[in-house]
Symmetry: C2
Amino acid sequence: MVKIAIIGAGNVGAALGTGWAKAGHEVAYAVRNPQKPEVLAAVARGGDRASAANIADAVAGAAVVVLATPWNVAQAAIQSAGNLDSKILLDCTNPLAPDLSGLAVGLTTSAGEMVAAWAPSARVVKIFNTTGYNNMEDPDYNGQAATMFYCGDDADAKETAGKLAADLGFDPVDAGPLKLARTLEPLAMLWISMAFGGYGRDIAFKLLLR
Amino acid sequence: MVKIAIIGAGNVGAALGTGWAKAGHEVAYAVRNPQKPEVLAAVARGGDRASAANIADAVAGAAVVVLATPWNVAQAAIQSAGNLDSKILLDCTNPLAPDLSGLAVGLTTSAGEMVAAWAPSARVVKIFNTTGYNNMEDPDYNGQAATMFYCGDDADAKETAGKLAADLGFDPVDAGPLKLARTLEPLAMLWISMAFGGYGRDIAFKLLLR
């Protein structure tokens, strides 16, 4: 059982939290207003193992912190989180340009690397950014588990992240060091472009092995 | 039957040409020196339907031109190709940084878009860049066809490109307009990083549909 704080209770945060609560983990939504209707709804979906608190309180009690906010508030959320020393920080963000036409950062850096710079004492893993919340709720594709790619520089943190992805039903795949966020964030852009470009949300990436 | 000129007879060019010659297409390797041993070997692998000529001659007789060179000679190759009016130009390049540590261009443009600017009268499709030559030789993964993502702004050119991918055994997937090369080139970097980061070359991406 892992104690998890999820910063943000939007579609992605709620999908992750609901799945982990059902899998037996203890989930606290870390939000500015724990009484907001969407937060209460996420807590209700999670049952006995889900709760909500302000960001610093929820984070203080957690071993794993999940950053599931829009990109434009990610830095402020980290600043509100308090002490992140040695905590595992799962970065689910995508640095979408304001008009959603592309990414705002990339090539020579990534949101994942920026998050790591903003939270230098945390162990950052980039994960849960390359697919939609619908796939986080159900990653099964006709008997095949969708792949969840992740990357980071801390082996133990990556192992925990991979297990948390498997708990949701994903096939977890370690893509390498955190720098690979420079490829996983464009992969998210590919998913978004295709999902909203005619394919719909029921698409997912799979890594095939021979 | 499509007349195809392949600029470059390296691993990627030879894998594509051999597969297409076997599928019944007419393949001409477009190279600076048609007598070079690797070119003669590629021609021999292709059998009766494969030949080699200098770049301009091979391109002149083709409806489809395939750019399968290293990135640092791609612009010069296009300049040597002669008249590309209305030809379909399949861009297989990846703009790898000289030390292979990442991509040299991206985020706000892509190799695909740069190739289109260098060959403004051609109909450019980005394709055959997101996987290794071994998968081009055999895209079958235990009964599942690896996906070949492609993108471009000309519907007819994309249809031809998709058919040529299917002729090799791939599951062709249209990712959208040429701008999506900004995501397909990082996807290549993900494949390269994983293949040389411990997974080996027998990995491939698949788009799952529910």
